[in-house]
Each structure stands twice: as structure tokens, then as C-alpha cells.
């Protein structure tokens, strides 16, 4: 069932995500309404918006879980419409909902996801060892995920999501429900990944986290209303925190 135009080459571009007029309708309801934006390679891009603004739908489309109704997107140089498989190989994903297997050990979880991403066995072992070292979880390799604290679980999920060295990681509210210290540590992990050239696409409800992003965008009713660096946006709205930007914007 291979289509003749399904190429495996990527397009060279300074952007790792390019979205043009992307739209998703569910029946008569337009969840995502002609949004366009670009994300540069290695950038930390914050994707903000009230609940139900269309953030999760957008992420699901960008991860090729959901077919867009119309519009185009290029993810890691691959066309969203025709190169699903290549996109899947080059992205990582982690959601607010903890999504590792509770009844498998830390090591088994990482091994399972590493293997389905086709990382060679020996290489995988080394990568798991170094991830666990980075997370300070070496001693927990054989612990069932069920019994480790939520903060560690979220960090573990992040490490698992970047195990196959994706070009882009989509993080859907990765820090909801964890304490401020773990959130800080989590952002250290994000910075470390970004410094290696991984593009981070993150949604959050914590406004202090929005300040950590290179650029942010604010979505409302399926449309992308604002986009820019945190300081640009604060200046444009004449306020001194992203929280005020958000509130002011949502009130309008």
C-alpha cells in the first residue's frame, strides 16, 4: 500500500515545525481554525491557551494521530500529509497523563519503548543507563513504576520520550500536579535537551513556566491570537508578567 509519492527525504529548512492554515473540524465545530506558525530548530516553544482552546487537538494533529481537515504542516522536514512514518520516528511525546506502564519496572518501560523505536539492543542499554544516571534513578531500575513518586515518574516519562533522540518533543502539560522543586528540575531537563538541538513544543498552565520559553503563543477559540518572546508580549500588552498578558488577553 505504499503510495508512489511517499518520500523519505526531509526538506532542509531552519524551522523544525512549519504550520500553514491548519484546521480541524469535528462536525460543525471548528476546534482548530486556520492556525499558522513556525518553530525554529532547538527552540523552546510555549503553547498557551485556556482549557478547550484547541491545544491538545493541535498537538494530536502535529503528532499525526489526527488527520487535519485542511491546511499543511511540515514536521522535522517531513510533510504531515504524506510522510507519517518518518514524522513518527523523529518526534517524541509526553502528556499530562502519566503514560508509562505501572506494572513494569523503570528499566522494562524504557526498554519497551526503546525497542519499538528500533534502537539497537546494545545502544539502548547504554542510553537507558545514561538517562537513569542523569535522573539519579540508577538504583530504581528494577523498581516497579507503580511505587515511585509522581515527580520522578514525570521525569522518567520525559527521559523515555527522548530516548530515541527525536528532533522534536511534544510536551502536553508535562508538569501538572507536581511540586515546584520537581517542576524546576523538569525544566532543567528540558533546557538540557534543547541545548542538544531538540526542539521543545510545550503546553502549560503555569505562567512562570511560560517565562522560561524562548517564544510563546496564546490560543483561544481555536485561533492563534498572540505569538512572540515573553518580553515582546509583555511590552506589547504593557504589563510586567506573562500571567497578566494571559489574563488581559482572555478578558478581551
Amino acid at each position: 500500500m505504499k503510495l508512489p509519492f511517499r518520500k523519505t527525504e526531509a526538506i532542509e529548512s531552519p524551522y523544525s515545525i512549519e504550520v500553514k492554515e491548519l484546521t480541524k473540524c469535528f462536525g460543525s465545530f471548528t476546534a482548530v481554525d486556520h492556525i499558522s506558525f513556525q518553530v525554529k530548530k532547538g527552540e523552546i516553544f510555549g503553547f498557551l491557551g485556556a482549557n478547550g482552546a484547541g491545544k491538545t487537538t493541535t498537538i494530536r494533529m502535529l503528532c499525526s494521530l489526527l488527520m487535519p481537515t485542511s491546511g499543511q504542516a511540515t514536521i522535522a522536514g517531513y510533510d504531515l500529509a504524506t510522510q507519517h512514518k518518518m514524522i513518527k520516528r523523529n518526534i517524541g511525546y509526553m502528556s499530562q497523563k502519566f503514560s508509562l506502564y505501572d506494572d513494569l519496572t523503570v528499566f522494562e518501560n524504557m526498554q519497551m519503548f526503546g525497542t519499538i523505536y528500533n534502537i539497537p539492543r546494545k545502544e539502548l542499554k547504554e542510553r537507558i543507563a545514561s538517562s537513569l544516571e542523569m535522573l539519579n534513578l540508577q538504583d530504581q531500575a528494577k523498581t516497579l513504576v507503580y511505587s515511585i513518586p509522581l515527580g520522578w515518574k514525570q521525569k522518567l516519562a520525559f527521559a523515555t520520550a527522548i530516548l530515541h533522540r527525536p528532533k522534536i518533543v511534544f510536551l502536553d502539560e508535562p508538569t501538572s500536579g507536581v511540586d515546584p522543586i520537581v517542576r524546576r528540575e523538569f525544566w532543567d531537563l528540558i533546557y538540557a535537551a534543547a541545548s542538544k538541538g531538540v526542539t521543545i513544543f510545550v503546553t502549560t498552565h503555569y505562567m512562570d513556566e511560560a517565562e522560561y520559553c524562548g517564544r510563546i503563543s496564546i490560543m483561544s477559540n481555536g485561533q492563534l491570537k498572540l505569538i512572540g518572546t515573553p518580553s515582546e508580549l509583555k511590552e506589547r500588552m504593557g504589563v510586567d508578567s506573562i500571567e497578566q498578558v494571559f489574563v488581559k488577553f482572555v478578558e478581551r
Binding site: C63, S64, L65, K85, K88, R89, I91, Y93, S95, K97, F98, S99, L100, Y101, D102, D103, L104, E108, M112, F113, T115, I116, Y117, N118
Partner: protein, 365 residues
């Protein structure tokens, strides 16, 4: 294939970590067969009966002798009048009264036709019908001995042919296999698939560059293997403990079981593709598949006795076709040519359901 192996490995790890489920899956079939075989068995022994012998000649005495010797009946009284019989029903707790008419021997020899009246206590319908069948079987063999030919004097029960002892275990085993396969294959796979949807791990698997088919079959195959083991356990117990015959080919029997397992697994997949939570998956599988299969597949209640609507409804549940097929193989010794239609129906259902679940998986969250 490496991905498929990994998913299989993971699924087996889930199963072996969950000792309680594993135990239930393997122990329940054994318990069910033993339970049905030993206790819920509808075989009745030493039922109290009355015999009103109005002729009291040598043949009627021989018949009574034969009835007593069968071991199924205990003659507790010999009433003289109909009202005595009524008393026996109330006081002596008889299940059945047999009335042998006057001039029994003479009618049997000259007219070759005798009507023997049976009055039975139908307050428990199952018991009554089983006892009636016993009496019919005894009368049949009695007249056969007497005549030595088939122009028998008493109406016969043809349904008894494949199970002359009316041994109920033979009827229950195919039903139990069906229900166990539905629990282990359909229920467990619908639960395991919807659990991944519920916990969000399904999304992780779908985002990964793995073929959807691998994800699904990798999750379902382990349960098919488990249910195959259960089926073999049930068969071994039925043969060793209850001396159930397998008159047809064992390989054909196992082949039909595998086809039904595919059908049950596809039911599980299709159900999990329609729901979002484990609880929904469980409720729908139990109420929408398990219960109708138990009630409509002909294993507890004969399909022929159902209202027409339910007879039609029974056709859409795969259990009915499977039970017919394995009963034929085990009791009648049918070969593939005799049962291919049933196998084809099961296979068709499996393919259709599998198609639905694969196309619906995209829409999962």
C-alpha cells in the same frame, strides 16, 4: 516483527505480574467443569415415582422391573386409583407417576400399540423433562427387547440418539468452553486494550512508528494462548473425569476452537474500539456478549423452544455456531465437510469485527 515481539513480551509480563487474574483464568475453567459435572448436573438418580399397574400381568411386571433396575427411579408406591396418585404427589413427593393400562400384555402382542400415561410434576421443568426422557428411553429399550424389531409400540425420543444416557456433562462441556473463551479472550482483550486507552499508553504506542496491527495483535495473542490452554484443560477433565467421548478428530476440534478464539478476540477488539474505559468494556462484554451467549446459544435452553424473534437473534452470536460445530465433532464424530458452514460463519464474523476495530483505532484519544 521486533516491535511485535516486544509488545508480546510486555503483555506477557503484565499477565504474569497479575497473579490473581492468571490464577482465575486458569482455575475458573477447571472449577466450572467440575461444578457442572458433579453438582449442577441434571442427571437424576433415585427419583421417587408411583406406578399404577392396571393389568398386573407378566409383561407389566417386567416393565416395572426394568424401570426399577435402571437406577433412575425408586418406586415408592403402587396406587390403585387416580386420587391415590394425587396423594402421592403431595405426601410422598413423587416426581412422576406411570399408569400401565389394562390388558397391557394382550395389547402389546395383538394390537402392537399401547398407550402408557405419564403424569409428571412439572414444577421443576428441567427435572421433569429429564425424567420423561429416562422413561422414554426405558420404554424404547423395553419394546425393542420385546419385539426384536423397530415396529415399536411406543413413541420414541429421537433426540436421545447421541447421548443415550442423557448425560448432561456432554451438553455442558461445549457451553463451558464457549463461555470460558468469551471470558478469557473477548473480555480480557477488550479490557486490556481499553486499559491502554484509559491510561494513555495507547497514545504512546500509536505515536511510535509501530504498525497498528502489531499493537493490537500483540496485545490479544497472549490471551488467545491463555484461553487455548483453558480449553485444553476443560477437554482433558471432561474426557478423564466425565468420560466424555471425542468421536471426531481431535485436530478438527482444536481447529474449530482456534477459529472461535479468533472470533471471540475480534469481538473483544471491536468492543474496545467503541468504548473509552475499562469499565465500559467490561460491562458491554458481559451484558452484550457473555450473557446473550449463555442464554441464547442453546447451551442452557434449546433454541428450538425459543420465541421466533430470539431464534433469529441467536444467529448473530458466534457462540451458537461454535456450540453446534463442536457438539457435532465431539458427539457425532462429524468431519470438516459436515461443519464447514459453521466454521465459515465464525471466520466471517471474525474478519468483519477485526476490520471494524482496526479502522476505529484511529479515532482513539
Amino acid at each position: 516483527m521486533k516491535e511485535l515481539r516486544q509488545i508480546l513480551k510486555k503483555e506477557f509480563t503484565h499477565i504474569f505480574r497479575d497473579k490473581i487474574t492468571l490464577f482465575l483464568v486458569l482455575a475458573i475453567p477447571i472449577m466450572l467443569v467440575l461444578l457442572f459435572g458433579f453438582t449442577i448436573s441434571t442427571d437424576i438418580r433415585h427419583a421417587n415415582i408411583s406406578v399404577m399397574d392396571l393389568s398386573a400381568d407378566s409383561q407389566s411386571k417386567a416393565l416395572i422391573e426394568k424401570i426399577t433396575a435402571s437406577g433412575y427411579f425408586e418406586v415408592v408406591s403402587y396406587p390403585k386409583t387416580e386420587s391415590d396418585i394425587n396423594h402421592d404427589f403431595k405426601d410422598k413427593n413423587i416426581k412422576l407417576a406411570i399408569i400401565i393400562p389394562q390388558n397391557f400384555e394382550e395389547q402389546l402382542t395383538n394390537e402392537r400399540f399401547v398407550t402408557i400415561q405419564i403424569i409428571s410434576d412439572v414444577s421443576d421443568m428441567n427435572v421433569a423433562s429429564v425424567l420423561n426422557n429416562y422413561v422414554k428411553a426405558i420404554l424404547y429399550s423395553f419394546t425393542e427387547e420385546y419385539n426384536g424389531n423397530s415396529s415399536s409400540a411406543i413413541e420414541l425420543c429421537t433426540e436421545m440418539r447421541y447421548n443415550p444416557e442423557a448425560n448432561s456433562v456432554y451438553m455442558f462441556v461445549p457451553g463451558i468452553i464457549t463461555l470460558i473463551m468469551i471470558i478469557v479472550t473477548a473480555l480480557m482483550s477488550s479490557i486490556t486494550l481499553s486499559r491502554e486507552v484509559e491510561t494513555g499508553t495507547m497514545r504512546m504506542l500509536l505515536i511510535a512508528p509501530v504498525k497498528k496491527v502489531y499493537v493490537i495483535i500483540g496485545k490479544v495473542i497472549p490471551y488467545m494462548i491463555l484461553s487455548f490452554i483453558s480449553t485444553i484443560l476443560i477437554l482433558v477433565i471432561s474426557v478423564l473425569v466425565f468420560h466424555m467421548p471425542i468421536n471426531g478428530s481431535v485436530w478438527l476440534l482444536l481447529f474449530v476452537c482456534i477459529i472461535f478464539m479468533l472470533t471471540a478476540a475480534s469481538c473483544g477488539m471491536a468492543i474496545s474500539a467503541l468504548v473509552k474505559t475499562q469499565l465500559d468494556a467490561m460491562m458491554i462484554t458481559m451484558m452484550g456478549l457473555f450473557l446473550p451467549t449463555a442464554l441464547l446459544s442453546g447451551f442452557l435452553f434449546p433454541i428450538d423452544n425459543m420465541p421466533y424473534f430470539f431464534q433469529l437473534l441467536a444467529n448473530i452470536f458466534p457462540g451458537k455456531w461454535f456450540i453446534i460445530a463442536i457438539k457435532d465433532v465431539m458427539l457425532k464424530g462429524s468431519s470438516f465437510i459436515d461443519i464447514w458452514e459453521y466454521v465459515l460463519i465464525l471466520f466471517g464474523m471474525a474478519s468483519a469485527l477485526m476490520f471494524i476495530s482496526l479502522t476505529r483505532l484511529d479515532r482513539r484519544r
